[in-house]
């Protein structure tokens, strides 16, 4: 893809580098940083409160806090489509009190701020889940020792708890950054011109595939940069420690003292889930006559079809790859693992562009038409989501099956028999969880589907996008709600499984 994009000639490219490239870069960086900031704020604070306090309803909040995962960023943007209008009176006041430049500045800041806020309100669970697990695995001895050594609870949090959880939090932030880079719907709606926005504008608006590809390559470099930074930060944390033997003791709070944890947990739940969800419900009620017109059940069955085929095939592929790498201990397979995991960090738009190039090449060489087929769409999905299934399945094999496979080998069992009789039953739950993770991601996916969907093939995600793009945001709540419901069930199941394992 890199080779293709550099060798192709494009008259628009000079124009893009001269004019909008800097804007795209700056907007992308600003949005990623802003989103990281707010996800940290929401994710870490709620994780800390849930991990360390027993307040009324803490068990409910433990899973309520995960629910925003069911809402993709573009749906969050539509649910808050008019959030900028709320600030109109304030802007007018700024203009009359300070001046017009101040209003423009405030308005620009508001756009970034609110876009970042809206994105983080549904992305923070990545940070929340990883931070919570990390806090709980620390046990309470570190905190108790630090306090008995004369440090206040707050100082202990900053000096001990947070540094120890840094690797986990950084991993969460990286996921958030990837999602932000990948997003198309929300940035389009709020008019923040990021790279993904630029790719769509250049390709569809200017009809210039080559320049779009080059933008995709730059976006890929951004992504690799973030992965590199993550690796560096994690390498700096030179410490290692086993999960504590002591459990993480929760402090019981009630009465007035429970207000603080309640507020900290309610804010993300209310803004990340309750408000979007109930707004959509009421909009869907308003526009219920529309249900037939957009044939939402057809959309839902399309989405279901894609999500199921993709999750089943990624899981099967992961089992095959994971088992053979563990069983035969092959180096080549190890490398393919690294490569596969890159797929998930690659923004959907970039993968879609890559798939188009590949297809163009294939059709030139072998004269077969793949573009615009479901096959191509599935292929791209699998490239994107393989890592989601592969990583848990591989570590499942590693944790549970290594010794058993050796035993099975010495007992003269064939590889297939070992896999079927021994490994699969052992990691059955892991496989189900991996499949569900892919299912959730595939159901929510937008940019890749937008580019590669075959003619006349709509998913819930593309229908949501198209409707809101035609300023029919109220009506778009119908497919949106279907997406939310479809992802909600697996998410609740997955979250309860995390609880059981502890």
């Amino acid at each position: 893809m890199v080779i293709f994009s550099i060798s192709s000639f494009s008259s628009n490219w000079d124009h893009i580098t001269e004019t909008v490239l800097v804007t795209y870069s700056m907007n992308t960086v600003a949005l990623v940083l802003g989103t990281i900031f707010f996800t940290l704020l929401f994710g870490v604070s709620s994780a800390w409160v849930v991990a360390s306090y027993k307040f009324p309803g803490y068990k409910i909040f433990k899973w309520l806090l995960v629910l925003p995962l069911s809402i993709p960023t573009y749906i969050a943007a539509y649910a808050y489509f008019d959030i900028l209008d709320v600030f109109n009176p304030f802007l007018i006041w700024v203009r009359s009190a300070i001046g017009f430049e101040a209003m423009q500045l405030t308005n620009n800041l508001l756009v970034y701020l609110l876009t970042a806020l809206v994105m983080s309100s549904v992305l923070y669970p990545y940070v929340y889940l990883l931070a919570r697990a990390s806090f709980e695995s620390q046990g309470s001895h570190f905190i108790n020792v630090a306090r008995s050594l004369g440090h206040s609870g707050r100082a202990v949090f900053w000096k001990i708890v947070l540094p120890l959880s840094r690797p986990a939090i950084v991993a969460g932030i990286t996921l958030v950054a990837m999602e932000t880079l990948s997003d198309y719907g929300a940035v389009k709606h709020f008019g923040v011109q990021t790279f993904t926005y630029g790719i769509f504008r250049t390709w569809l608006g200017m009809g210039d595939l080559t320049s779009a590809l080059r933008l995709a390559v730059i976006l890929m470099i951004f992504t690799l940069g973030i992965l590199f930074i993550e690796k560096r930060i994690r390498a700096q944390s030179r410490f290692s420690y086993k999960s504590a033997t002591s459990s993480f003791e929760k402090i019981k709070v009630g009465g007035k003292k429970s207000i603080f944890p309640l507020v900290v947990c309610s804010i993300p739940v209310v803004f990340g889930f309750m408000i979007p969800f109930f707004r959509m419900i009421s909009w869907a009620w308003f526009s219920k006559n529309y249900i037939a017109e957009i044939s939402v059940f057809q959309l839902a069955s399309n989405t279901l079809l894609v999500a199921i085929i993709v999750s089943v095939s990624t899981v099967l592929l992961s089992i095959l790859l994971g088992f053979s790498s563990k069983y035969f201990k092959s180096k080549i397979i190890y490398t393919s693992n690294r490569l596969a995991s890159l797929g998930y960090s690659t923004p959907g738009a970039v993968i879609a562009m890559g798939a188009l190039i590949l297809v163009g090449y294939l059709s030139d060489t072998f004269n077969i038409l793949l573009s615009g087929t479901l096959f191509l769409l599935f292929f791209a999905y699998i490239v994107r989501f393989l890592a989601v299934a592969y990583q848990p399945i591989e570590s499942g094999f590693e944790k549970n099956c290594e010794d058993l496979n050796n035993a099975s080998k010495t007992l003269g069992s064939s590889p297939m028999r070992s896999l079927y009789k021994l490994n699969l039953p052992l990691i059955k739950n892991t496989i189900i969880a991996a499949g569900l993770l892919v299912f959730v991601d595939a159901t929510k996916e937008l940019p890749l589907t937008l580019i590669l969907r075959p003619f006349n093939f709509e998913t819930l995600a593309t229908a949501t996008f198209d409707l809101s793009n035609q300023a029919q945001i109220i009506e778009s709540s119908i497919p949106s709600l279907f997406i939310i419901f479809m992802t909600l069930i697996p998410i609740i199941y997955l979250n309860s499984r995390i609880g059981e394992e502890r």
Binding site: R147, S148, L149, S152, I160, F239
Partner: protein, 330 residues
């Protein structure tokens, strides 16, 4: 007497079950006091209450003449003049040994004292390393130095030796004792291991289901337990009826039968060559013999009483033989 810690009527319940029930005791300056009990006896709760990590339901704790807990006062853990060492040492993995030692609020003000501690504990080579890079024994000493560097009036230790393997344990135990004694430190050690209590402490408190069972020197507790629970906690023993040995200095009522009983350790049962000593006797048929290298552990039965004797010259003994054992009282 110079009291450092005074606990009176301390109670704590979890879900309406007493973890501690009206506990009272004192620790004096320079004393090493061990708290012994089986799991669930409330010993860890006691430590947390003194450190301020839990709030008691009732009772009073006074540390160096300053009440830190009573009906109206709760001093936060960071304001209490005591430090805690946990069994897993809880060295902060993100800090070097040096940073760990100087983490305590008071440590940076006592550089020369901390320097002495470091050389006393023989950990000067490890200062620039991270906790996971040093040995278990070193980690133990670093944790100790970290707590002592904060210059507390009272040191709390939670199972300080249970994390170490048995070979290391004895060495560390003697090092620990010598450091603490040199500093004249007042220490409260919680342990489930009677051997630790016997070898380290000046005074031992035995807890049973949240209640104080016995307080005495460890030697006396070993020899004169006040109950079957205490007797069994401090090593292998035979609970024999008092009527067999009326001269015994101690006895206790058995809970089930109300009979007065005496704890007789296996080594107190001997086989005499002569027959005319004045020691109390018990006849038993041998059911099992184990050679443990330096002596023979002999299991014998006398009617429905099963007991165990540790016999030095037991090579002639045979299973099924009936032998007369003499009981050596102090």
């Amino acid at each position: 007497m110079n009291s450092i810690l005074s606990v009176s009527n301390l109670s704590k319940t979890y879900n309406n079950i007493y973890a501690l029930n009206s506990l009272s005791f004192e620790c004096n300056k320079g004393e090493i006091v061990s708290v012994v009990g089986s799991s669930g006896s409330g010993k860890s709760t006691l430590l947390k209450l003194i450190a301020g990590l839990e709030i008691p339901d009732n009772g009073k704790i006074v540390l160096k003449d300053k009440p830190i807990n009573d009906e109206s006062i709760f001093v936060k853990p960071e304001k209490r003049d005591c430090d805690i060492v946990f069994q897993d040492f809880s060295l902060f993995p993100n800090m070097t040994v040096d940073e760990n030692i100087y983490f305590g609020k008071n440590a940076p003000n006592n550089k020369s004292m901390v320097g002495n501690l470091v050389s006393l504990a023989n950990i000067s080579d490890t200062l620039s390393r991270y906790p996971h890079q040093i040995s278990g024994g070193q980690q133990q000493r670093v944790a100790l130095v970290r707590a002592l560097a904060n210059n507390p009036s009272l040191l709390l230790m939670d199972e300080p030796l249970s994390h170490l393997d048995s070979a290391l344990k004895e060495k560390v135990r003697s090092e620990l004792l010598s450091i603490l004694k040199k500093l004249d430190m007042t220490v409260l050690i919680v342990t489930h291991d009677a051997e630790d209590a016997l070898t380290i402490s000046d005074k031992t408190i035995v807890l049973n289901q949240g209640r104080l069972e016995q307080v005495d020197t460890p030697r006396n507790i070993y020899k004169y337990p006040k109950s079957e629970y205490v007797a069994r906690l401090f090593g292998k023993t035979n609970i024999l009826p008092l009527k067999l040995m009326p001269g015994s200095k101690h006895s206790f009522k058995q809970k089930s039968s109300d009979n007065k009983m005496v704890s007789v350790r296996p080594h107190q049962l001997i086989i005499e060559s002569g027959t005319n000593s004045s020691l109390p006797k018990i006849k038993g048929q041998i059911t099992n013999i184990f050679n443990n290298g330096h002596s023979y552990n002999v299991e014998a039965k006398c009617e429905d009483l099963v007991f165990m004797a540790e016999i030095k010259n037991g090579s002639d003994l045979k299973i099924g033989e009936t032998v007369t054992f003499s009981i050596e009282l102090d």
